[in-house]
Subunit: 475 residues, 2 copies
Amino acid sequence: MKTECSNTSTSACTSLFFEPKAVAVVGSLREGFFGGYVVVKSLLEAGYSGSIYPVNPNYPEVVGIKSYSSISDISDTVDLVIIIINARGVCDVIREAAAKGIKAAIVVSDGFAERDAAGALLQKELVTLGRQCGVRIIGPNTAGVACSWEGFNPCPYDAGYYRLKKGSVAVCSQSGMTNPQAFPYPASRLGISRICDLGNKCDVDECDLLEYLEHDSRTSVISMYLEGITDGKRFIETAVRVSRKKPILVLKSGRTSEGARASASHTGSMALNDSLFDSVCRQSGILRVDEFADIFDIPKVFSMQPPIGGNRFAAVSYTGGVGVMAIDSGAQYGLVPAKLTAETCRFLDGFFPGLGTNPVDIGPMAVAIKNFREVFPQIEEAVAKDPNVDCLLNVLWCDTLGASAKVYLEGYSRIKGLHRKPVVTWLYGPDPDVYSKVAAQVEDMGFPVFSSAERAMKALGIAWRREEARLSRSA
Amino acid sequence: MKTECSNTSTSACTSLFFEPKAVAVVGSLREGFFGGYVVVKSLLEAGYSGSIYPVNPNYPEVVGIKSYSSISDISDTVDLVIIIINARGVCDVIREAAAKGIKAAIVVSDGFAERDAAGALLQKELVTLGRQCGVRIIGPNTAGVACSWEGFNPCPYDAGYYRLKKGSVAVCSQSGMTNPQAFPYPASRLGISRICDLGNKCDVDECDLLEYLEHDSRTSVISMYLEGITDGKRFIETAVRVSRKKPILVLKSGRTSEGARASASHTGSMALNDSLFDSVCRQSGILRVDEFADIFDIPKVFSMQPPIGGNRFAAVSYTGGVGVMAIDSGAQYGLVPAKLTAETCRFLDGFFPGLGTNPVDIGPMAVAIKNFREVFPQIEEAVAKDPNVDCLLNVLWCDTLGASAKVYLEGYSRIKGLHRKPVVTWLYGPDPDVYSKVAAQVEDMGFPVFSSAERAMKALGIAWRREEARLSRSA
């Protein structure tokens, strides 16, 4: 069996972590907010259709599911074992799992290399054992994985939500911060394919994930938070290949020498020279980002919108001031304000004097004319179809009653799918409850909404950076 | 009368805009979401205790308040007139106001220099008239002002909220984007003294505001969005003086040449060379910021916390990854991770092995020990009182039930007011409703909460930038 798994391709092994048909959960089954009990409950609530085998000799059942005294008592085939017990017992479970023919283990337990020297030794033992007996390992010290399409959300913490919005963005991380117990996925409306916390990444690493996601039909965009890289050469080779198929966004911490030192200490892994990493990104087509929020909202411009064809943007803005700020933001990414065609300008000026200028400042008109509801969709369409415009920013004010929302939604429906240009949006106003609801409606129509004009422009800018790299390769 | 007002000091005139005892409102009194009717309603709902005189010959009363046919019909003294009528009628109202002895006018009406050449001429006429007859003008094309302490919120748009949280931050802007109809002040929990949109700033400008705010006892921090500056020399002289008393944060758009051109066009004012403005800021002690959000949350570190005494920060973080990101963020502003004293390290390690390192990673411990509730306040206190620590970042995870919040609040009460060091916080978790409620509780205790670890570190960084400038002056 050892030989068999050692010879299995990495990718085939890795898929067991994300699409298992049967999973064993080894840990405490006591009710609480953390542990094996929560994993089983999360899986049930998330609608997981595979088999669940809780393992704990002290409990006959948990949440209505039969519990087993040991892994060997399970008669069916098991693809994956999730381990949440004291660190010192983990190796025994791995041995038992291997004997059962299990080839994938998620080790949630902490107390390994991130803790102290004794933990580092234990982790070394774990790695050696996993290799010997053909068990691939995610972790230790991980919050694990989650997959929306399969309802596979074995979250070990009670996050209060279980079903993730189905989508094509994979979020992979060297931290639990991107897992459901920490990040408000439902409120962010991010359509997810896979989530994975690599933890101490004693075995499965960012390259294994990239190789798996390369061929994962559910995933179209890959978003990563990394603190270090296991194998630079392999990472570049893999990223070069994968990034041509799917955008890869990477946030790397430890950008400063102080940060790098702290990073090495808390995951027990080697940190990476930052300028070296910058050149790795350039060589391999990785889109490097610099804020935590970037890995959650920037992917939307790729997963929800068509590719960007050029760097000329138009803004339709309820406020002139933000139009100006958008120009400043765009300039940081090489985006320039589009010069609208004479035809578009004439058409817009026909509605209101001075409207035919980019940024298109609709604020003064909106309160002055009677038929804004009929006019707005025409403005949207005229700007979106202008041949001088490659992409569009909407900055839209939401009144307290949501009345303006109807007007905007008509505008979006007018341009939806017609012009093959990315459209990004910032909604604002006096009441967050109102504009959040409108944002959900706009996103339901397929148009991503960002938390500021600057963030919306950043998304267009990162999209343009990817297109620039493609153009320079084909030049 | 002309002579009298021309001789009145600028500051005395400007106070009429923010602390009027009686205000006339000239505009449509028809129910709607914009106009004179809304101004009157907003004032009543905001609890304004001064006299309100609606002026419109077509209405005998509005919202239960007697309306006047003309300004001259009002028998009492009026401090300020708010004008929301067609641009072409504004000059007549100014003449009438001057005849009544009114020395301050807010011209909400648009259709002036921002519109076209005819509007620019009209604006010129307005300025000349105001100077001739001794009426100072805010606007035109402005959303006006708002003052929390006086309940003076004459918002011309129905923003759905009227009472602003009382506080000491003045937000001044060359855009309506910072006024109540556009920005969710209640949700942001920002304690406000004054809000002012200068609009086209044909008369009252950023210097007049600075001079007024310098002596305004309600204001301790000044936050500004500017697109240009009326008089560079006067601005520097004023800012040098005022910034030593009160922090001045400025976001200026038009940072790029494209942005500057667009800016000049939309307010009809001259734009400003950006690198020149940078040197103006350095010379005058202005804290220049670069994101729209900065003018709303960064002020909290000044208004709610003691001054920063040095650049050594500690982080108490539920997650090691964010601790590392915080170090990266801090480095951008010259903040360095504090080296905890041996005493603090020993004390922390006593709770959990490895805890005694900055960033203090409380995550592994929180799930492992039984008495986290008793331990957390002790950790907070030990770190806050460490003589090597100048300021503190808290990164705290909120579970779905809010149970962890009680623990955190005990921690804050333990350090409140004791150590005279700024403390900033990021709260996160799976449920925004939960962590927003906790954020409100933490802010009620006087500790500002930010929307990310990066933003919290930026606030400390900007605080340190102010202290650095002070140190270099006294060196």
